[in-house]
Amino acid sequence: MSVNDRLRRVFVETLELGEDVHVEELKYRDLEAWDSLGHMSLVAAIEDEFGVQLDTEQVIDMSSFKVAVDMLRGLGVSD
């Protein structure tokens, strides 16, 4: 599975997103589910799924799904 697909699954499962949500277009605080608590859950789930550890700046910079994909690729995660 591609990084994109794996990350999409992490988002959908962690934030309990419905099928109508365009995950790829999602930005922090667009939905009630992606609030600060959701953000911390996402960070933990991403760290588990991809075996990475995010630093302060990365957690704060992770302001959208797209940013998260780029960040993971930057950390050396590949398809």
Partner: protein, 483 residues
């Protein structure tokens, strides 16, 4: 034009500055005064009575609030994410002159349908509003300035009534305790409808300092960009914020302008207090641990930063103008050190009282400057308060008093519930709320432990336990929904 409001001093000092980080706009001096004046003039055109303001973290919200206080128009600060049914109920019960800030709020925020007896209008300086078609039956008390929602037992939030004196005095006392001067720059890390967030705004504008209005909170990139861009000097957080920041290994050292951290809104783990004290001290700054409650507008104590290491775990002495005492079980109030009981606060910042109805808005001072805080603790030799817990939450099962915290422990000890749970009283019975699903045999097991009949304990599933802005379980809201 509007002069100073009845009752004397202004909340907003002439040197105060508001910065709208999203738009890169600064309002200060004559321009800020004119903006507040325009808001005040718009309020003057409304029917008599209190105004409900849905307040997001926006410059417009800050102006609607500050302008109301400056104009002597009592204003209730409401969470824009309130459920539409809750807002409708509040409007019906308190019959405000108007509801402003209809466009405020982010994801999921919706004011709902136009309430009966109101018309929707576009007001100059205030924006879209619901305005009452007639003047309300009850004139608000002349001392009333700010109303904040807190949970009540009657099924929907009740309002805490704060006088102009309470708000101004607390703003001044906080500024004194934290050395807030005109050079300070505070970003809005907390909601403005939350008493702690409101007090950051109040204490800074009153001291002629700067408030950077930036939405998103401490996990948002825009927040830290604004801190760096505008030279934010302080950060206010509740335990939940500091827990999150610890989780992401945040350090104040990364933001060189940051000199002051403040913490209130509940008990932060001593390890984290120490950690942030060390981090910020190493960066040349200070950490203040504080204690407050909405009913005290809200600040009651502040621990001087230099005494934090020797007083780790204390919330400090009363603010200037306030006094602490302890009411132990024998009912004789005392200031004798190390006597444990309910902490009682006296000061000019204590609320006038609660309001549960429109008629209550006309009430004067019910408290006489005395507040029984509901927090248990003691004072030490230096008069510093140490909070040890809350007064026992007591329920009744068939006439027998039970400690609800014990019931929560019993329910958890069954091992049947993995998620959050909470116990609330419901008449002669007790309700145990479980997030997600309520296990079928939980009520039976809890009742057996308590040696009461199975029907004395009810279990209910709830999607999510209601939380206070401090992250603690909102028991009063839960209790109300059991009714």
């Amino acid at each position: 034009m509007t002069g100073p409001a009845p009752g004397g001093a202004r909340l907003v000092h002439d040197g105060a500055r508001l910065i709208d980080a999203a738009r890169g706009r600064t309002l200060a001096g004559a321009e800020l005064r004119a903006a507040l004046g325009a808001v005040a003039d718009a309020y003057a055109g409304l029917p008599m009575g209190v105004v409900f303001a849905r307040v997001g973290i926006t410059l417009d919200s800050a102006l609607r609030y500050l302008g109301a206080v400056e104009a002597g128009r009592p204003v209730a600060l409401l969470d824009p994410a309130l459920r539409t049914a809750t807002l409708a109920d509040l409007v019906e019960r308190y019959a405000p002159a108007a509801v402003v800030g209809l466009a405020e709020g982010g994801a999921g925020a919706d004011p709902g349908e136009l309430p009966k007896g109101y018309r929707r209008v576009e007001l100059p300086a205030l924006g879209p509003a619901w305005v009452h078609e007639t003047a309300p039956d009850h004139a608000p008390h002349p001392d009333l300035a700010v109303l904040l929602a807190t949970s009540g037992s009657t099924g929907s939030p009740r309002l805490v009534r704060l006088s102009r004196t309470a708000v101004l005095d607390n703003a001044r006392a906080i500024a004194a305790a934290l050395d807030i001067d005109a050079a300070e720059v505070a970003p809005t890390s907390l909601p403005l409808f939350y008493s702690y967030g409101m007090s950051v705004l109040n204490s800074h504008v009153h001291a002629g300092a700067t408030v950077v209005i930036v939405d998103g909170g401490v996990l948002a990139r825009e927040f830290w960009q604004a801190v760096d861009r505008y030279g934010g000097t302080s950060l206010a957080g509740v335990p939940y914020n500091y827990e999150m920041l610890a989780r992401i290994r945040w350090s104040p050292a990364k933001h060189p302008s940051l000199r002051t951290l403040t913490q209130a809104g509940g008990r932060l783990r001593p390890e984290l207090i120490e950690r942030y004290h060390e981090l910020v001290t190493a960066a040349g700054g200070r950490l203040f641990v504080m204690w407050g409650t909405t009913e005290a507008a809200p600040r009651m104590t502040t621990l001087p930063a230099e005494r934090l290491p020797e007083k780790l775990g204390s919330v400090g002495p009363a603010l200037p103008g306030g006094r602490l005492s302890v009411l132990p079980g024998d009912g004789v109030e005392t200031r004798v050190p190390h006597v444990t009981g309910e902490i009682v606060y006296r000061g000019p910042n204590v609320m006038l009282g609660y309001a549960e109805s429109a008629a209550d808005l006309s009430r004067g001072d019910d408290q006489g400057g005395v507040l029984h805080t509901g927090d248990l603790g003691y004072l030490d030799e230096d008069g510093y308060a140490w909070i040890t817990g809350r007064l026992k939450r007591i329920g009744k099962v068939f006439g027998i008093r039970v400690n609800l915290d014990d019931i929560e422990r019993i329910a958890r000890d069954t091992g049947l519930v993995s998620g959050p749970l909470a116990a609330t009283p419901a008449g002669e019975r007790v309700v145990v709320w479980c997030e997600g699903a309520a296990p079928e045999n939980l009520a039976g097991l809890v009742a057996a432990q308590l040696r009461v009949h199975r029907s004395a304990v009810e279990t209910r599933a709830i999607e999510a336990l209601p939380l206070l802005p401090s992250g603690k379980v909102d028991y009063r809201a839960l209790e109300a929904s059991a009714a």
